[in-house]
Symmetry: C2
């Protein structure tokens, strides 16, 4: 099994980044990650000013996947996530939904014990370990690992977890996949601007899918298929996610556009990834029983 | 038990509407409803032009609840929903997320059989019967039953179903509650502009809560507490729902604003009601285990 240490990272997803490792389609890779503050926050007394804000959202990578070429799809299965022993949350002026009402930067250390995140004496939070940042080199100029987009990136979406398979557009040779910014737990929206940020070890399997293209990431899990779109507004992101999914299903389902749109209205789910990053992420989810009823094959299925 | 027939309805929620029935706090009421087209669509051959579009979204009511005064909260428990035998869906030019790609108005009749909505030979959809339109007379001018707002109205939110309790701001004496626009099933977003529209009989219990006020509807169910906010954009609606919920919990929880915001980021869920009505509806949901851990009492609980 290939291994990529966390010291191999980027702050920007960019076609010009040198590969940290080269792998073949079908390879499994173990990837170590820093937390989103590059492990700089070590206590609740850490000051906002003492943090180097140029060192946030390091994503381990990039991973060069052989045979991945522009116009292909990169399939990434998340096989396992092992999180660290202590997480951290932050909020403050200008950060997140309540940033306009915050006067100070605040830090909270959150130990992970017995399968829960210990928020305080009254409450331990069930874990939902997930990957905040995962994506490929974007089509044009480099994009900070703190920002999501068509290439993936900082989507902060809680379904990006063990058992899920992500599909990314490939814009450049090798795809140049990177990932980091793990959370021990996060709710849809990520309203304070942070999940429970934590270092981790992630096991993934990568595969190149030829002969099909996508314009935004999709996610497949037991529940079904989800389009993940990031835009300036949640409204635009939601509308685009719905339209991309309808166009994908329409090619295969044998329904008129009107029938399919009605079907999506009755069974599809518009959901929220996050509303606090530079772009916002919406999801449109279609349950598996609907895909199966109409024989819809997901990318790369024969 | 009191009974209100569907022939008692309004197209606009308005303080000047004459009460259709007067009930006491604590009364249970059975309310019959038309579908959102006032049962005008009787076949898939129904033309767009043959429908009287002034006769849409009739809401049965208004119900005058004695002792309800401006500044109170009206608590409405949904005890039971019994839907009809056949639903209808529509989409067309200018309607819903795909309206810009539709050339014709399309109608689909959907029979309800054996506890499922029969979409076609390939797929029957599990039912999730819910109330699309429910609300009180708004604070100022009347609002069409097709539009949601601080008074409730056309929120098209799938959690508005049996077992849920809704809390509405009371703006006028008697509150003037009306409801209609039932769906046999609907997904978050209601992307085609219709759920599976269907006539129904709804059983509710109303209660006046004194000494507390709210500015938007809240919904309580087994899962927890949800703020329901409708605004021009999903972004504004989501931000407001988060802030209202945080302010409500903050009064009771004994956490700083920063701590509570972080807690909401890790455990709260920003969700979508609908994105196709004149205003869009977002939800912010807080799980029950969080409320219980901090001893947060919902409106009217002692």
């Amino acid at each position: 099994m290939k291994h990529l240490a966390r010291e191999n990272f980027v702050y920007t997803m960019d076609q010009s980044n040198n590969p940290a490792i080269r792998v073949k389609s079908g390879d499994q890779i173990v990837v170590d990650t820093y937390d989103c503050f590059e492990n700089q926050i070590t206590s609740e007394k850490t000051n906002f000013d003492s943090i180097d804000w140029n060192r946030v959202n390091p994503a381990t990578g990039p991973i060069f996947v052989e045979d991945a070429e522009k116009g292909d799809i990169l399939k990434v299965r998340i096989d396992d996530i092992e999180i660290g022993e202590r997480g951290v949350m932050v909020t403050g002026p200008g950060l997140g939904v309540m940033g306009h009402r915050m006067e100070n930067f605040n830090v909270k250390m959150i130990p992970v014990q017995d399968g829960k995140a210990v928020f305080d004496k009254k409450l331990s939070i069930p874990l939902n370990p997930m990957i905040g940042v995962i994506g490929v080199a974007p089509e044009n100029e480099g994009i900070s690992c703190g920002t999501p987009g068509a290439h993936g990136g900082n989507m902060d979406t809680k379904e990006v977890t063990t058992g899920a398979t992500l599909y990314f557009p490939v814009f450049h040779e090798g795809a140049l996949l990177s990932l980091g910014d793990l959370h021990a737990a996060m709710g849809d929206g990520e309203v304070s601007v942070s999940g429970i940020e934590i270092p981790a070890t992630v096991k993934i399997t990568v595969e190149v899918v030829k002969g099909q293209s996508i314009s935004y990431p999709f996610l497949e899990n037991e529940a079904g298929l989800t389009a993940l779109v990031s835009k300036e507004t949640l409204d635009e992101a939601a509308d685009t996610a719905v339209e991309l999914m309808i166009d994908f299903i329409h090619e295969q389902a044998g329904l008129t556009l009107s029938e399919l749109t009605m079907l999506m209205s009755a069974t599809g789910q518009v959901q929220v990834g996050q509303i606090v990053d530079p772009l916002k992420t919406a999801k449109f989810h279609v349950p598996r029983y609907v895909l199966e009823a109409y024989g819809v094959k997901v990318f790369g299925e024969s």
